[in-house]
Subunit: 356 residues, 5 copies
């Protein structure tokens, strides 16, 4: 049942009904978005729950980095206010509210805009779009629904673990992307373990091999690959962007992140190959087994159908059947039958049908 | 029946019978083309139905942007007049009248020429070539037949929605391309849903899986990919063209449009993979099922054919068959039969034929 | 029978027996070549049949463009004379006489050399190498045998249709390449129609699907692709060649020709995919059908073989078989048989074997 | 059993639980690492077992090259001290302790960092990560566990074979990478021999072909390819790095090493193709054999089932069956049976079922 | 039997046991190598059999080009002397003695080094490594064993055919590479003819199709492709090498040689596709045929097994079977049987099982 939603839930959608002006937002009011802010400097970090965007804007003078996390992307009025306050291009706003974007990096003059995708896998694969804006001290993230994989990052900032509090906003940007991509590893790892088990089942017992699971895992890997691949381009583009405001130091970390994405993508590709191999191997195994079954049937039939015919022959009720009166007729027929069986068995043996 | 027209309707055709001079138009008169004009500036927009091309030409001084939409590409005299009036190269005119072009962008010195393809899918996939000329204030579009996907755009211009009335002709050009490509999304989306359903059918009930539909969808995706792919090159080429007269502002929108094309193309590729996977999975399922059927047959035959032989043996009419006179002969034979059956069942069980 | 020649006729051959000096021609005399000349300027065009090459050379001062068409490439003495008169590199001459070249463009200092391939398809696919030399006012073409696809071009020159008479020799070069490539369109188109029909046959009636034809078409497409692909490189190389003497104006036409080659190649690739899809689909259909046949066999056998055994059981001739004396024994057995049949039918139904 | 561990043992792992600060090491103490040093100059080479890293650092003034080999990467305190003493970036330290890296080359300002992978194959494929730091005179290697493939290299240094003692540290770096990659050759060679044997088995006797082994070898090649491929990029990047401190002379050797990697990777790719071909060939062979088995069954059944029916017909006990009273009825029926058999045999022959 | 050696004989080998110093030669003495020299200038060419390398070195002043051909690469002392006399890098010497190199071109400051591979095909595919050194007037070739494909070239030099005597050593280098590659053409051609025949067999008679041969040819093409591909890179690299001492004139010939390699490689790729197609087509044909066989079996069984049951029913020996006493019982049963047969035949017909 959950499977039936697989493609549907990930389907690509037009930004809006085709033909509407670009950069226009859906007019429906939508659920109001929720704000939460983590503002910090080297010596201080605070969690705030502002009521309005302008309130957030005022924090700029007090902190080194202000991370505004907005949950819900359907609140058009909020989006428009956000666009006004931070000078965001309508196309970016539209991309925020249309949650079917590929990962990408758009460098506008006054801000940078990133889209990536947070994945999770409980029973089935799910993903949520994460939009990140970077403008001076501000990092603004947009999520579709509450609940994300960023909790450890928040804890790190508030507890002052690692370097994060000592570095500017672009490091937080890196940390966000890195944390999101890190969460793909356990998913891919889990798939690897499932494939390992399936492979073992197929080789060892030939029994409970679940072809449908291979099929499903392959579909999931297709999906995962589609989510991961554009991230590679995104980070690459970011690293080569000459107008980028990202510090050299953060670029070293970002390059590390790039290595991770490449590693992820290679694993996904490898596992897709493994799925194909399993499928091909299974087909061969089934063909082999069908061949065995057929051989059994053919041996049994080839022996007993002719014998049955001979028996039937002497079960006929003709009045004039000389053999029936012979004294040793019956034993003669039995001997004939044994001869037929021996001959057939010898022939099958020579054909190699008993060698398995 | 409609299927039989699939390839035929999309077949590539020589521009003309091979060997005719390039840039020459078919001499047949063809149906006269119909004109309709939308001319607009920031404060005004008007829909006109001019009788001749020279009439249109005169609108240049009055409006900021003049969009001339021409329906019907077989009217040779009109095409020649159009070429004369706007200074169009014969090769472009030929491309307009030959409706089997790939999407492309040709930059001539005095004008730019675009070809793209409008798709629709009611029962089966159809497409129509849209040629777009851009020259100064003029945007001239050529369609094969009446009826298109541009209605919302016309409404937007006439109603003054969005930015379109405030921007020059190159923005209208963008809006045309964008609207055309936007209409691919619902088609691809619909295919995704069909695949989703097919996948569900195959996994869950194993019953009404329609292999022919997978085959047809795969053909349609092949076709769609062939239409979409050159659009990617076209926009890319347009964005990198240094002599382009497209304003920086419109280029931002065009880049957004490029992202859409990439997204479309990736979805098409993904769905083609899904089709292949479904096909491969179906083959495995059928092999599996054939194996099951064969096992059933083999078990039944291997048990009852030998039994039948034994029964036939004692149905023979030889006069001297000592067993027939034995008092418990019949019961002995019955016991023998039960022993054979038990032995065979045990052997099949050990072979794992009952484990499913 | 004609099929057996397929690969053989297209086989690649060493330029000569391996190890002979490069640029050396086969010493055999070969059939004498035939010359025909079309010489023209803006106001005049004449068809001539010169007896010797030096005669042709003298036409240079009289006409704007001289097209010398030579049929037969085995006349060594003529080739050597040609090389002397026009200053042709021995490697080019060797390429002319070895008719298994890929399409290519070699730019020598004093002349350009083109190789392309004229295709035709009557029952089976055939091709002929066309070598084109361009030197100043001269265009010299070499064909293997008489009969080609250039008749419409000749007519155009002689009748003065289109621009061709007004343009220099490089335009004729373009016209030759364009005419040759144009003749691939009807071939590819015809293949498309055949595939369309095969596809319809497979989907609709499942009856007369001709697998061998798919196999053959796929081979032909492989061949066609091998002929077309290098043309793409050839034209591309020509367009990017900075030392080229081709006029800007002709380059516009050549770019149009490039578009056609790309379109051709894409169609060929698409049709090869269609062939693969047909093959895969056919395999699935056959598997499905085999499964159906097997189910029928298994149902019939599983029902009647056990029944036959029961009947055989009571056909045994033991003297002491109590059931035989029972008054209602026969009817009891009949009832038992009906019960067996019902049970089996119910079981098959539950297994879903009747659902198709 | 060992197979079940295949994918699991090679699974990719997140650097740490997702969300922890980058460059942080696992806090667990881990087993203490073991040091061993080989320090040498042109005239002297010594093997030492220092107790601490600072002891090693002091050797700098005495020798030309100091190779510190560290076994065990879980000793966090040691790693931190190492980072402090040699000025290593936390990300590099993290890569050392996380043993699931792809081969790579990171050029930091004060040192270079290499990761590669040592492979071995006893029953199943295994690999171990080797991290190499190069800083001035120091080469520091990190291995996961004791036991490696570097013994011949150590012997060469201590015995003063070849050039190694006369060259600076970057030559040792090359020698390490080269030795590691050299050990892939016997593995790939062994796989080649196994494939050779499998291929022979399949073609010649059709008997003991082990499909599971092909499946396993293919998986191993997938794994090997995944390990080798990034080495190619690594060496390439090293050779093109303009800031590299590698001497021209060593670069010549490194290029040789690059050739080896390319050769390895090509062999792996080739063998993967061979696996696919074996799989496909096996499937065809099985299909062929199933077809043969079916033909046997069909011939036998088609002959004897009808005969059996005829015999059964005259075994019926109707009182009024005129044929039974005929004098030559029995012989007539025998003749009929022979006629049926002959007819069927002739029909099968014409269908080509006996031609193998 | 010869097949079993296929992969083994081509296996890749480590340059030496892993871990030995690079550039070191195997210490075994090996068979002494044999020298033969062809030295020539425009007016003179001489074949010599020198006893030592220093003798060869002295020829430098007397001739324009000196081609030293050395047979046997295991003579370590000779190789070392060669290295000393001509100033060859140890890595090159090692590559000479390790006969499993890919084709390559190494440009050292004082000499160029080429590796290529001479192929032959008598029953099975074989190859031999040819190393070529070019230094000033000297061309030195190393072969593994006596017997090669260079005889025509030697004859050409000695007889003074073609241009070769008039040109410097780099032309001889070209001639060597060209001659070696030319010898691939008849091999590929022969394979093409075999495929042609196989294809014909499969399509026409469906009889003696040799699947194993397709499998073997495919393996050979894999091998050939592996030998040819690096030659393409080698020549390409040579042509683009700016420090190359190759004259412009020879480069024209080398480019021609490049065209040949491309043509070869394309043919190999095409034939590999043909093999795949044959394999796929064969699989479909076998599936089709199995389906036919099954239909025959099913039709026969479905008709006669039920009939046999009916016959068996009235062969039972119950005392009270009223039908047996009916006067026309027998004829009634016969009629029933005819009805059953007609019904089944009609049903099969409607299912389309008789349409082939």
């Amino acid at each position: 049942m959950s499977r039936r939603k697989r493609f549907k839930s990930n389907k690509i959608k037009p930004r809006h009904e085709p033909g509407r002006p670009p950069g226009s937002l859906d007019s429906g009011e939508g659920t109001p978005s929720q704000f939460s802010v983590i503002a910090y400097g080297e010596h201080e970090a605070k969690k705030l729950t502002p009521q309005s965007l302008s309130e957030v804007k005022k924090l700029e003078s007090q902190y080194e980095v202000i991370w505004l996390d907005i949950i819900g992307v359907e609140d058009v009025r909020m989006l428009e206010e956000f666009g006004r306050l931070f000078g965001i291009h309508p196309l970016s706003l539209e991309d925020v509210s249309n949650v079917h974007q590929r990962a990408k990096f758009d460098n506008y003059e006054t801000y940078s805009y990133f889209v990536t995708r947070m994945a999770s896998r409980n029973n089935h694969l799910q993903s949520e779009q994460l939009s990140i804006f970077h403008q001076g001290k501000f990092i603004i993230t947009f999520q579709e629904v509450a609940g994300d994989c960023l909790a450890p990052l928040r804890k790190r900032i508030l507890a002052g673990q690692g370097y994060i509090r000592k570095r500017p906003a672009d490091y937080l940007l890196y940390a966000l992307v890195d944390t999101v991509l890190d969460h793909y590893f356990p998913i891919v790892d889990q798939i690897g373990e499932q494939l390992d088990e399936l492979d073992g089942n197929l080789i060892e017992s030939n029994r409970s091999f679940d072809l449908a699971q291979v099929h499903q895992i392959r579909s999931e890997l297709l999906e995962l690959g589609r989510w991961i691949r554009p991230n590679r381009e995104m980070i690459n583009q970011l690293l080569r962007d000459e107008t980028s405001t990202m510090s050299k130091e953060t670029q070293v970390f970002m390059r590390d992140c790039y290595d991770h994405v490449v590693r992820l993508y290679e694993s996904i590709e490898t596992y897709r190959e493994v799925c194909s191999d399993l499928r091909a191997y299974h087909l061969s195994v089934v063909s082999n087994r069908t061949n065995d079954v057929m051989k059994t049937l053919t041996i049994v039939s080839s022996i007993f159908i002719p014998l049955g015919f001979v028996a039937g022959l002497y079960g006929m009720n003709f009045q004039h059947m000389p053999e029936l009166q012979w004294k040793y007729g019956y034993f003669f027929v039995l001997a004939l039958m044994i001869a037929i069986v021996s001959g057939l068995l010898f022939w099958f043996k020579r054909k190699g049908w008993f060698d398995d």
